[in-house]
C-alpha cells in the first residue's frame, strides 16, 4: 500500500460519513474508526523496515513546471507521529460514539474529524515544504470547523475564529518563511533542505517566520491564548486536536529543523528555548487558578507544549531523544485525561471543580483512568511518563545550562501541583461554597470509559515493558539526528535525574497542600496586558478601520460609488496605456456614410441622455445609444457581438424600468457646483480613456497577429467556424468559467441585497 493511499482512505471516509450517518446514526464513528485501523495496520507492516532506519518515499507530480510535488516520506519520526495520530484517533472515534447523543449534524462532525485526521497525517508525511503548508492549513481549517461545531453558541464561534486567525496568521508567516528557505536551498524538498541546510541572513529571516508559524500552532507564549479558548469545542476534539495531535504540529516542525539549524543559526537556541521555557511556566501558573477542569488541562497542555519545544528545539541529540519520548507519552496521557473530563462533564453535567464533590463514588473507573494518566503526566513510576521524564531530566542535566534545568524543574513542580489540583477538583470530597449543592454524577457506561482506559493502560504497559516504545523512539530520534542515543528504562540507578524526580514530587506536594495560599498569591498577580486582550484590541481596531474605509468609499451615494469605480478603472490601466502609447499610422474616419449616420445618431442620443430631466426618457435614450452600437456591429460584420449587444440592451431596459419605480421620476438639479464639475471631469476622463483604449487596442503593435492566429486555429484546433464562440468555450474557456462564476455570485448578491432591504422594511410590521 502506498503512502498516499493512507491519506485517500481518510478522504473516502470523510466523504462517506455524512451519507452513512442516515443509516448508522451514532455508529458512524465506527465507520470513521476504519481509517485509523487501516493506518495502524499499514504502519505495523512497514515498521520493521522503518525502525531499521529505512526511509520510504513516494513522489507524486503535482505542478511539474513549478517543481511542486506532493512528495510523501515516512521515516522513524513520522512513523511515531503516524502511530500517535492513528492510535489516539481510534480511541477518540470510539469515545465519540458514546459522548454524543443522536443529533442531525453528527455526520458533519464525523466527516470533519476524519478529514482532520487525514490532514494531520499529511503534515507528518509530507516531504515538500509547500505540501506541508497545505496540510498544515487544512488542519487549521478543520480545527476551526470543529471548535465552532456548536455553531449556535456565540462563544464557540468566536473561539473558532480566534483559533483560525492566530494559527492562520502564523501559517502565512510560515509560508513566507518556507519560500525563503526553499529559494535559498534551491529545492522545496524537506529531505534535501535538511541534508544540506542553507545559510545566510535571508535564511535567518526565513527561520524566524517559520518559527512564528510553529509557535502559533503549538500555542507558545505569547500566542498561547487561543488554545484555552478552543476548549469551547466538544471534548473529543479537545482531546484529539488540542492536546494529542494538532498542537504538536509546531513541535514536529521545530524538531525537524532543529538538528539542521540549531548550531548554525545564532539566535535559534535563545529564541526557541526561551519561548518554550516561558510557555512552560506561564501555562503551569495559569493552570493553577482555573476552576474549569477542561481549562485547567488546557493550560496544562500549553505548559507541556512549552516543555516539548525546549526539548526538541535545542537541537541536541540526547534532548531530541527525550523530546520524542515525551511527545509519545504526552499524547497518551493527555488524551486520556481529556476524555476523563468529558466523562465527568457528561455524567455530572458540569466540569467546574467548585460544584463537584464526591464524584469518586459514582465514577470509580473514570477516576482510576484519571489517576493513572495523571501519575504518568507528573512522572511517577512505573508509568511511561516517568520514563520519558527521566530521560528528559537526564539529558537536560547533562547538556543544558542551569537556567534551562531550573526552568524545567520549576515547570515540572507546577505540573505536579496543577495535576494534583485536577484530581482533587474532579473526584475528591470537599467543602463547597455556601449554598452550592454538589453536582450529582451518574455512573458511566463501561464502553464510554474503555477508550480512555485503553490509553491509560498503554501508558502503564509501556512503563513496565519499555522495549517496543524504546525501539520506536530510538528509530525516530535517529531519523532526526543520526547521533541521537538514549534508552528508555524504568530503573537507571541512583542518578541525579532520579533526585530531580523526587524533588519535583516533594515540591509539588507542598504546593498542592498549601493550595489556598498559592491560589491567593497568584490571584494577586493580575496581568495588566494579557495576550488575549491584545488580540481583542487588534481585532477591534481592524474592524474599526475597515468600517472607516468602507464608510469613506461607500457612503450610500450612488454617484460616489460610480465615481469611485470609474476612477479606479481609469487610474490603473491608463498608466499602461500611456506607457505603451503608439498611435496607429493610418486612421480612417469612417468606411461608409452609413457609419457616419449611425455614429451621429449615437452621439446625439448620448448628448440628450446627459441633458434630459426625466429619468424614464434618459433610460430610453440610453437604450437607443446601445442599439445604435449594435447596428454598428452589424455593419462591421460581427453578428455575435451585435446579437449580444441587442439582447443585453433589451434586458437592461426592462430591468431598468423595474427599478425606476423606486427612484424619483426626474433628476434633481445638482446644487453643489463642485459636484457638478467633478461629474464632468470624471465623465471626461472615462470618455477619453475608453476612446484611446479602443483606438489602441484595435492595432496592437500595428499588426493583428493575435486575431489572425485565433482565426487560423479556430477550425483545426477548436473544431468550430465561429471564432468568437471557439474563443469563449475553448481557447479562453477558463476566463469564461471565471465570468459565469462572477455572474452566479452577482445573482446571489442582487437577490440578497434586495431581500435584505425588503426584510428590513417589513420588520416593524411583524413586530
Amino acid at each position: 500500500m502506498s503512502i498516499a493511499a493512507v491519506l485517500l482512505v481518510h478522504v473516502a471516509v470523510a466523504l462517506v460519513a455524512p451519507l452513512a450517518v442516515r443509516w448508522l446514526g451514532r455508529r458512524v464513528f465506527y465507520l470513521c474508526a476504519v481509517a485509523p485501523v487501516i493506518t495502524l495496520i499499514w504502519a505495523a507492516g512497514i515498521s520493521g523496515r522503518v525502525v531499521a532506519g529505512e526511509r520510504l518515499i513516494q513522489r507524486i507530480d503535482w505542478v511539474g513546471p513549478l517543481g511542486l510535488g506532493l512528495d510523501l516520506r515516512i521515516d522513524g519520526f513520522s512513523m511515531l507521529m503516524v502511530v500517535l495520530i492513528a492510535g489516539v484517533g481510534l480511541a477518540i472515534f470510539i469515545y465519540c460514539r458514546f459522548y454524543f447523543s443522536d443529533r442531525p449534524d453528527l455526520g458533519r462532525f464525523a466527516a470533519t474529524l476524519s478529514a482532520f485526521a487525514g490532514s494531520m497525517l499529511g503534515v507528518v508525511l509530507a516531504d515538500n515544504l509547500i505540501a506541508l503548508y497545505v496540510f498544515w492549513e487544512l488542519t487549521s481549517i478543520t480545527s476551526y470547523l470543529l471548535i465552532g461545531f456548536e455553531d449556535g453558541k456565540a462563544a464557540a464561534r468566536s473561539a473558532a475564529l480566534q483559533a483560525i486567525l492566530v494559527t492562520g496568521a502564523g501559517g502565512l508567516a510560515m509560508l513566507a518563511g518556507f519560500v525563503i528557505l526553499g529559494q535559498a536551498a534551491g529545492s522545496y524538498s524537506i529531505s534535501a533542505l535538511l541534508e544540506s541546510p542553507p545559510a545566510g541572513a535571508a535564511v535567518g529571516a526565513g527561520l524566524i517566520l517559520v518559527l512564528l508559524g510553529a509557535f502559533t500552532k503549538s500555542a507558545q507564549v505569547p500566542f498561547h491564548f487561543w488554545l484555552p479558548g478552543a476548549m469551547a469545542a466538544p471534548t473529543p476534539v479537545s482531546a484529539y486536536l488540542h492536546s494529542a495531535t494538532m498542537v504538536k504540529a509546531g513541535v514536529y516542525l521545530i524538531a525537524l529543523l532543529a538538528p539542521a539549524f540549531a548550531d548554525s543559526v545564532p539566535f535559534w537556541r535563545p529564541l526557541v528555548i526561551g519561548v518554550g521555557l516561558a510557555t512552560m511556566l506561564v501555562g503551569g501558573l495559569r493552570a493553577l487558578v482555573q476552576h474549569d477542569l477542561k481549562l485547567l488541562l488546557a493550560f496544562g497542555t500549553v505548559s507541556q507544549l512549552g516543555f516539548l519545544v525546549v526539548l526538541v528545539g535545542s537541537g541536541h541529540p540526547d534532548l531530541s531523544f527525550a523530546g520524542v519520548a515525551m511527545i509519545l507519552a504526552h499524547g497518551l496521557f493527555k488524551a486520556a485525561l481529556f476524555m476523563s473530563v468529558g466523562i465527568i462533564d457528561h455524567q455530572a453535567r458540569t466540569r467546574d471543580l467548585r460544584r463537584l464533590s464526591g464524584a469518586h463514588r459514582s465514577l470509580r473507573s473514570t477516576m482510576a483512568v484519571a489517576v493513572v494518566a495523571s501519575a504518568s503526566m507528573v512522572g511517577l513510576p512505573p508509568l511511561f511518563g516517568f520514563i520519558s521524564k527521566e530521560a528528559a531530566f537526564e539529558a537536560v542535566l547533562h547538556d543544558s545550562g542551569w537556567v534551562v534545568s531550573a526552568g524545567i524543574i520549576g515547570g515540572s513542580v507546577l505540573t505536579f501541583a496543577y495535576t494534583a489540583r485536577f484530581l482533587w477538583g474532579g473526584f475528591a470530597d470537599k467543602e463547597l461554597g455556601h449554598g452550592i449543592e454538589p453536582a450529582r454524577a451518574f455512573p458511566a457506561a463501561a464502553a464510554f470509559v474503555a477508550p480512555a482506559a485503553a490509553l491509560a493502560l498503554l501508558t502503564l504497559l509501556l512503563g513496565l515493558v519499555p522495549g517496543p516504545a524504546d525501539k520506536l523512539v530510538s528509530a525516530s530520534a535517529r531519523s532526526l539526528d543520526p547521533e541521537a542515543r538514549g534508552s528508555l528504562a524504568l530503573w537507571h540507578g541512583f542518578t541525579p535525574a532520579l533526585g530531580f524526580s523526587v524533588l519535583t514530587v516533594a515540591a509539588g506536594l507542598a504546593m498542592f497542600f498549601s493550595r489556598d495560599r498559592v491560589h491567593r498569591l497568584l490571584k494577586r498577580f493580575r496581568v495588566r496586558l494579557s495576550a488575549s486582550e491584545v488580540y481583542d484590541q487588534s481585532l477591534k481596531g481592524l474592524n474599526r478601520s475597515a468600517d472607516r474605509i468602507t464608510g469613506f468609499f461607500q457612503n450610500g451615494s450612488l454617484p460616489v460609488y460610480i465615481a469611485v469605480i470609474l476612477l479606479s478603472v481609469v487610474a490603473i490601466p491608463s498608466w499602461a496605456l500611456i506607457h505603451g502609447f503608439n498611435l496607429p499610422g493610418r486612421l480612417v474616419f469612417a468606411e461608409s456614410w452609413g457609419q457616419v449616420a449611425v455614429g451621429a445618431g449615437i452621439l446625439a442620443g448620448a448628448v440628450f441622455v446627459a441633458r434630459v430631466r426625466q429619468r424614464l426618457v434618459a433610460v430610453l435614450l440610453l437604450g437607443a445609444v446601445g442599439f445604435g452600437v449594435a447596428v454598428l456591429f452589424v455593419m462591421q460584420g460581427a453578428p455575435d457581438l451585435a446579437l449580444t449587444q441587442l439582447l443585453i440592451e433589451t434586458l437592461a431596459l426592462v430591468i431598468f424600468v423595474m427599478v425606476l419605480r423606486h427612484l424619483p421620476s426626474s433628476f434633481r438639479a445638482v446644487q453643489w457646483r463642485f459636484g457638478q464639475a467633478l461629474r464632468v471631469v470624471v465623465s471626461g476622463c472615462v470618455g477619453i480613456f475608453v476612446a484611446t483604449f479602443a483606438l489602441l487596442s484595435a492595432h496592437p503593435g500595428g499588426d493583428g497577429h493575435l486575431a489572425r492566429e485565433y482565426i487560423e486555429r479556430a477550425l483545426p484546433e477548436g473544431g468550430g467556424r465561429n471564432v468568437v464562440n471557439v474563443i469563449l468555450t475553448d481557447f479562453r474557456a477558463l476566463d469564461t468559467l471565471g465570468e459565469i462564476t462572477v455572474l452566479t455570485v452577482a445573482a446571489f448578491g442582487i437577490a440578497s441585497l434586495v431581500l435584505v432591504g425588503r426584510n428590513r422594511e417589513e420588520e416593524p410590521d411583524e413586530a
Binding site: 427599478v659 473544431g719 474557456a733 459565469i740 452566479t744 446571489f748 442582487i750
Partner: protein, 142 residues
Amino acid sequence: MKPDRSMILATSVDLIFPAVLMFSLFLLFAGHNAPGGGFVGGLTAGAAFVLRYIDAGPAAIRTPGRLPGRLLGAGLGVAILAGCIGWLGGGDFLEAIKVSLELPLIGTLKASSALLFDVGVYLVVVGLVLTVLAVLGAEEQR
C-alpha cells in the same frame, strides 16, 4: 388574468414564447459554427421570460421558488464537469474533447465537450435573468 392585460399581447406572447425558447436552444447548439452560443442563447431565453413578464406582470414569474438558484448551480456544475472531461481525455482542464458518432439514418454526429461547457454558460445566464426578474419584479409589485 389581470384586468388590464392586453388580449393581443397575451395571445401573441403565448405563441411567441415557445418559439423564442426553441430559437435560444438553436442558438446554443449552432453556436460553434454559426452566430450564437451559450451566452447569446441564454440571453435569448431570458428575453422570452421578459416577454412573459411584460404580458402577465410579476405573477408570471413571481414564484419561481428555487429554480433560478438551481439553474445557476447546475450551470456552474455542468461547466466544471465539461472542464473535467478534458482530464479524462488525457489533456488539461477545459481542453475540448471531440467525439464523432456514426448514427444510422441520421449521419455523422459530432459532439465536443465545448458544447457541454456552453450548455453550462446557457444555464447560468438564464438563471441570472430569472433571478433578477424574480427579485426586482416582486419588488416592483409591492
